[in-house]
């Protein structure tokens, strides 16, 4: 059974919102734990960019849904299985190298993705993309610099970076998988054909890893399921922390 256009659009936008919220929340965990003051502030800015992006997508999703729910309802009152973020966003930070590599993979993808979304036939989505791509271009500059620096750095920084790359590699495939609703919306030019971005992404990432003396993994395994609500054990924990205040005191404002 296919969804109505409206249902499909709602689910599509919700997926983009969940991606941004979960990564923003994850990144915010670095606040006050950054390796040094300047990087701490920089990471917190990054987290806030993603929370801001999540809000834009949730507000639009709520509007498309048209059931009177608002952005907070969508962020705080849905359960784990209803979240449709890609798995790469929910993985714990582990160490600084892991967060940097994750961010780098996502930044390269985001720049390619948003460039296409800017041309969406949906004016609202095109506007969000216009705003978000400026942030992502900056994020990419940041993460690219770090990948180079830590890759070419000490033997320990190099090892940690390579471990992070090997661990994360299997989660990157999901960034290029078309969901059912995306396939459905593609014909109307609303959404982006993410499967078409993989070649550029791989080329760009391989080039930069190579300059950074880091290796592209040869492993072939891939994990997916986030878009269908099939998550790792980490999402429940992050949602607990994210949602507890609103769940305990619904409607609370501060």
């Amino acid at each position: 059974m296919t969804n109505t256009y409206n249902d499909a659009l709602y689910q599509y936008v919700l997926g983009l919102a969940d991606d941004a919220l979960i990564l923003g929340q994850r990144t915010s965990e670095w606040c006050s734990r950054g390796p040094f003051l300047e990087e701490d502030i920089s990471l917190s800015n990054l987290a806030l960019d993603y929370i801001g992006r999540a809000r834009m997508f949730y507000q639009y999703a709520a509007q498309v849904e048209g059931l009177g729910r608002n952005e907070d309802d969508l962020a705080y009152f849905r359960d784990e299985r209803a979240f449709s973020n890609l798995l790469i966003n929910e993985l714990p930070n582990y160490d600084f190298a892991f967060s940097i590599v994750r961010q780098y993979f996502i930044d390269v993808h985001a720049c390619l993705y948003l460039e296409q979304l800017k041309r969406s036939s949906d004016v609202h989505l095109a506007q969000v993309a216009e705003k978000a791509i400026k942030e992502s271009r900056y994020h990419l500059k940041r993460s690219e610099t770090w990948v180079l620096q830590l890759g070419q750095g000490t033997s320990e920084s190099h090892e940690r970076m390579q471990n992070a790359i090997d661990e994360l590699w299997g989660y990157t495939g999901e960034m290029f998988l078309m969901s059912e609703v995306e396939t459905q919306l593609l014909t109307s030019g609303v959404c982006v054909d993410r499967s078409a971005l993989q070649v550029s992404w791989s080329a760009q990432v391989s080039r930069h890893l190579s300059v950074s003396t880091l290796a592209v993994p040869e492993q072939q395994w891939n994990v997916a399921g986030g878009r269908k609500g099939e998550h790792s054990e980490h999402l429940g924990h992050i949602l607990a922390e994210l949602q507890i205040v609103q769940r305990s005191y619904p409607g609370l404002q501060w």
Partner: protein, 94 residues
């Protein structure tokens, strides 16, 4: 890799046409990274349209003990100020 030991001085131009002003300093490994941090630390409330970063140790500064020899000699040279000169009456505004 160094350990973000380098101190950089940050200069911001707040609006076009205005000079860059010193706003503070920060630690970074490379000039590129210093620019990134300057952006995040000093322009998050739209304070600037252009950033300069300069390694602190590249700045030569006058010292406190130089004050006497540097500045005192200027105190008795009022003729270096425009106000020292009496203008001809025909000059109204200057």
């Amino acid at each position: 890799m160094k350990n973000n030991n380098d101190l950089y001085e940050v200069f911001l131009r707040s609006i076009r046409g205005i000079d860059h002003r010193h706003v503070g300093s920060l630690h970074a490994d490379t000039p590129e990274q210093a620019l990134i941090y300057a952006r995040d630390v000093y322009t998050r409330r739209s304070e600037g349209v252009s950033i300069w970063v300069v390694k602190s140790n590249q700045i030569s500064a006058s010292q406190e003990e130089d004050c006497e020899s540097f500045y005192d000699p200027m105190d008795d040279k009022p003729y270096r100020h425009a106000s020292f000169y009496v203008l001809p009456e025909k000059v109204n505004n200057m």
